[in-house]
Structure formats: C-alpha cells, structure tokens
C-alpha cells in the first residue's frame, strides 16, 4: 500500500480517537504547511542559485563564505531581513502598505496547491479539475498588491513602478493564458494531472509524446510571457533598478520586502513548473526506459532546467523600454498566440488522439 498523507493522518487520528470528519481539514492544513515550507526552501535556494549562476556567467564566484560553498548565505540573508527594523514612511498609507505584500505573496503560494509534483493524488495538494483556469486566475491577483504597494508608499518612483507593473502584468497575462490553452485542447482536460497523463507514450520508440512537439511556438510564447510575469530582465521594467531605483518596493524593508522577494522567486518556480507540466510532460520520464527514476525528480529536474534558462536570459540581456515591451506583447505575442490556438485546433481536428 502506498503511504499517503491522508493515510498517515487517518491512522494517527484513529489512535488518538479524534473524529474521522476532522481528517479532511487536517490533511488540507498539513498539506498547505508542507507546501509553504517547500516554497521557503525553494526560494532560498533559487536565490542562491541565481547568485551562483550569475556569478559563473559574469566571471566571478558568487556567494561562498557562509557555510560550505556559501550554501547558508541565503538563510543568513533571510534571518537578516527578519531581524531588520520594519520602516514605514511617515506619509505612507498605513493599511494598504501593510496588506500589499500579503496580497502579492498569498497567490504565489496558492498556485502551488495544484502543481503536480509526481504521479497520483499524494503528490499534488489538490488536483482541481479546472487547474489551468485556477492558475491563470490566481496569477492575476498579485497585480492588485503591486499597485497597492506603489500607491501606498506615497513615493513617485514607487508609483511609476506600479503603473508599469499594472500595464505589463495585465498585458502579459493575455499571451500567458493564451499559450496555456493549446495543451488544454490537446489533452481535453484542464486538470494538470490530466494534462500530464495525456503526454504519456513515445513516438517511433524514442521521441516522448510531450506537447512541445506541436507546441514549440506556444512554448516560446509561454516562456516569454513567463519572463515578464516573473519580472525578469529583459522584462523587469516594473522594478528596473537603473531607472526606477527599485520600483514598487522602493520603500519596503524588512519582512515586508522579504514577502515581495519571496513572491517573486516563488513565481519564478511556478511559471517554470507550469511550463514543465504543460509542455514538457511534467513528471513523466523522457523515455519509459528511464522510469526507474522517481517522477518527482523528473518534474523538479525539468523545472530547474527551465529556471536555469530564465536566469541565463536574465543575466545576458539588456532591458526593453516600457513602450517596446507593450508593443511586443500586444502586436507580436498575442497574435502569435492566437495563431497557435488555430494551429492547435487543426492538430486536434486532423490528428485526433
């Protein structure tokens, strides 16, 4: 019998004579706590990874002082942020200023609940039947927090940053969502597990039946929109350091700043994980012969490769200007994404599964 979280909790509750109808809520609670810790862990090491990768690319070393290979560096940084004084500008709008980082962080966290880390129900916190819709809905919430942050800071640079963020995120939401539709069409399911299952099998004995095969354009569109969504160079105009100081989070310090930072890196993992799920077969191995490697490693491996690509792009390219970003999004990405849907329709029509 497979050991599942539900099974363990049911067993414990039986021993302790706690009513069985408490099992389901407890499972949800425990699952969300596990996800929360997973996010914290992932974010800490993504920051470390970004600094190390940028170090390699930029002909320097990167963190190497705290712990072996600098592995404890980001933990030390996080502790420092927690211990820092939480400064609030005198003219700031108090409550929006406090709530904004929470609005930004919570959706970034909520998305993780539907990401399938492995095979079966025990590797996903909640396999919603409308998974893809849920993701695109949740991903659009942080914008509200960012605008709130920029407005509440009562700083012109912050406000400019949040205006840019509003324009950018709303515009790039569209190609992102449009690029997520073709895998749904191909799989005939909105559940992320369903989409992964639809990518099983191989062509001619070698090529995996991932959706990438017919969705190279869709994947490219998705990754570009994902760069914009996760606020990375060349699309990091909302906090463009050389222009806007730090954009919407200029006035934030301490734990509130940490929440923005957390959300940003959690988002980077999210968009890569969704890309891996929708286009690269999620937790499926490249070839069935390699299925002795547990699915969760396949999933994390694919996600990390995509994150590496994002970081690679981030440390290589200059930044586009705000009007160039908008015209690229509306005049190039969205028409291409629509064309891609038409193409996918043809694929579904002429090559039914």
């Amino acid at each position: 019998m497979q050991i599942t979280l539900t099974g363990i909790i049911r067993l414990v509750f039986e021993r302790l004579h706690i009513p069985a109808n408490w099992v389901a809520p407890t499972v949800m609670l425990v699952a969300s706590v596990i996800v929360l810790f997973f996010i914290l862990f992932v974010v800490l090491y993504l920051i470390y990874g970004l600094r190390k990768i940028m170090g390699w690319i930029q002909a320097r070393i990167g963190p190497n002082r705290v712990g072996p290979y600098g592995l404890a560096q980001t933990i030390a940084d996080a502790l420092k942020l927690l211990a820092k004084e939480d400064i609030m500008p005198a003219m700031a709008d108090k409550w929006p200023f406090i709530i904004a980082p929470i609005i930004v962080f919570v959706p970034a966290y909520m998305v993780y609940l539907v990401i399938p880390f492995g095979k079966g129900g025990s590797w996903v916190a909640q396999d919603l039947s409308i998974g893809v819709l849920y993701i695109s809905a949740i991903l659009s919430i942080p914008i509200i927090g960012i605008i709130t942050a920029g407005w509440a800071s009562n700083n012109k640079w912050s406000l400019l940053g949040s205006f840019r963020a509003a324009a950018q995120l709303v515009s790039y939401e569209v190609p992102l969502a449009l690029a997520m539709i073709p895998p749904v069409m191909l799989a005939g399911s909105m559940s992320l597990q369903g989409i992964v299952h639809a990518q099983q099998g191989v062509w001619f004995g070698i090529f995996p039946k991932w959706f990438l095969a017919t969705q190279i354009l869709g994947f490219a569109i998705y990754m570009m929109a994902a760069l914009a969504e996760s606020n990375l160079i060349p699309f990091d105009i909302m906090e463009a350091e050389s222009e806007l100081v730090a954009g919407f989070n200029t006035e934030y310090s301490g734990m509130k700043f940490a929440l923005f930072f957390l959300a940003e890196f959690a988002g980077m993992f999210t968009v890569s994980a969704i890309a891996a799920t929708l286009f690269l077969g999620g937790w499926l191995p490249i070839h069935p012969a390699l299925s002795f490697i547990p699915p969760v490693f396949w999933f994390l491996g694919k996600t990390l490769v995509l994150i590496f690509v994002l970081m690679w792009i981030r440390s290589t390219l200059p930044r586009v200007r705000v009007d160039q970003l908008m015209s690229f999004g509306w005049k190039v990405l969205i028409p291409l994404a629509l064309l891609n849907i038409v193409w996918t329709g043809a694929v579904v029509l002429f090559f039914p599964r």
Binding site: A59, D236, E241, S242, E243, T316, P318, R321, D323
Partner: protein
Amino acid sequence: MAIRTEEVQINMGPQHPSTHGVLRMILTIDGETVVDARPDIGFLHRGIEKLAEKRTYHQFVGLTDRLDYLSAMLGNAVYAMAVEKVASIEVPARAEYIRVIMMELNRISSHLVFVGAFGLDLGATTPFLYTFREREDIMDIFEAVCGARLTYSYIRPGGVARDMSTGLDQMIRAFLKKMPQRLQEIDELLTGNQIFLIRSRGIGVISAEDAVSYALSGPGLRGSGVALDVRKDDPYSVYPDLDFNVCTEDTCDCLGRYLVRTGEIRESLKIVEQALDALPEGEFTAKVPKVLKPPAGEAYARVESSRGDLGVYLISDGSASPYRLHWRGPSFINLAAVGQMVKGLKIADTVAVLGSLDIVLGEVDR
C-alpha cells in the same frame, strides 16, 4: 467624470543608481514621457580651483586626480602641461612617450567603465563585470608603475613620477595582445544585441550643428559626425608622430556615441603599441625645483581626455602657488546638452542618454 492628468515633477538623484554620482535631474514627466529635464549640479563641489591657489604647484598634482577620477592620468597630464608651459620646462622625450602610453591606457580603462555602465543603464548586468575585469589589467599596470589604482599623480610637471620598470613593457604587451579578443566578447554580448540596438538607436539625437553650438566635445561630438579631436587638431606631446584615426559616427544618437568609444578603445590600443615600440631611452623627468616659482604669466593647455576637450587655464604671479587655475571640464559642458536631448523621450531613455554622455561628477562639480 473626466480624468484629470497633470505633469509631475520628479527628482532623479542625487541618490539614484543611474546618475553616475551625485547628479540631480529634475524631470517633469507626463506619465512615462519626459517633458523637461534640468540637471541640478553642485553636490560634489569641493572648490578644487580655489584650493589650487593655496597650494604649491607640486602639491596640487594630487588634486588633479580627483576631478575626472576615471581618467586621472589625463587630469595629471593637462595640469602638468599647463605648468610646463608657464614655467617653460622642457619635457624629455622618454617622459612624453610614457605619458602617451599611460594616457591612452587610461582612456581605454575609462571607456571600458563607460561600456559597462552604459550596459548597466540599459539593464544588462553582465557586460559591466566583463569590462571591469578588463579594466583590472590596466589597474594592475598602473599599480605597477605608480603604486596607485585610481588616483595616480603619476604625470607631474617636468615628466613622470617614476620610470617604467623593466617588466612593465611585457605586462602592457600582454594586455594589448588579449584585448582584441575581449572586445570581441563585449561586441557579441552588447553591440550586436537586438535589445541593446532598439534601446540606443535613435535615442538622444543631437544634430552636428546643435552639438557644436552646445560646445560638446569628445565622443559626444564625434558621435554626431564632427571629427574634432584635440590630439589631431591641436597636437600635443608626441601624438603627431603616431598613427591613429579619429572615430566618428553619423547617427547622432546613443548608439553612435557608444560606437565611437568602442572604436577609440581599438585606436588607443594601436597608439599604445606604437608608443611602446618607439619608447626612447633617457631621462624620465626634467629637473624641476622642489618649490616651483614660474615667472608671471599665463598658459592654457588642453588634451583630449576620455570625455572630451579638457583644458586648464593657469595664471602665475611669480609666487609658489598659482594665482588662478581654471579647469575646463568636458563633463560639465557636455551635461548642458542633456536637457535638450531627452525632451520627449521616456524615463528609461533619460538614463540611457545620461549614460551615453559619460559624465563624471567629480569633473562637473569640481
């Protein structure tokens, strides 16, 4: 309800990542569009010209490092030339060649900082690290020759502070040898990058007429197609004996100014090589008294610094310190054009235009 929009004034600096020091730009913006930009300077004013009047001629050398701190050798050189003119000091040939080598190496290092910082202004973080790695080699050369890495005080009235040591020749040649390949790397990373091109092409346009009427000089002027270079037009030191080209671009924009500078790096490499080959034996400095009392008179010396036409006007009243010293800082004069150049552009372009002028606030404020 009608939406009411209004222009907003916003302070860019004096604490801002991209003003290259403590410059304050008062921007009037309409959304993202810059309606008006006014540079507000003076945050780094140290009264260096006044300090000159209270110091002996030798004591002031140390302060000439602190004007344009990215090309301190050129600051040293122009001051030394002014003093030599007013005191009629003959500089030995070897000193002249060493000066040219150091000045051109300094020009390369300053332009490398520009390339990196300009990339950083446009959001590219990696070229900055690469150019600083290259600059490090020049710093090592300077450290070997004078012991300092930023404020050299190496070129002094009469010649240079110390002779070039024996190993230095090889050090410089090794640098010259690896530099073209490193420049290639930067070209691949930045110059050929599509995003870099759309960000810099057609941005911050200033026509040749306007550039001349604003008295722009250096790469800012040559980027608008005017081939004016003090090294050619008002030759000093041993430049007439050396073969090099004046780089110009006709595009009049940020890209043009960038390309002029990368071209100048290559020309400077050529100059350094020629000067090394022609380096004569002899004295590295003329005999200059410890307390220099030049006869009453005045002199104007100018060099082509990394930023443009750098001039020093020196009046001597026969005492041990200058009666008056004026520093014509090209950064200060180039900065005046920024208001016109950024009008109607976006905020992001302001940063690019400011970066493309490559000002050093030490020289603007003095």
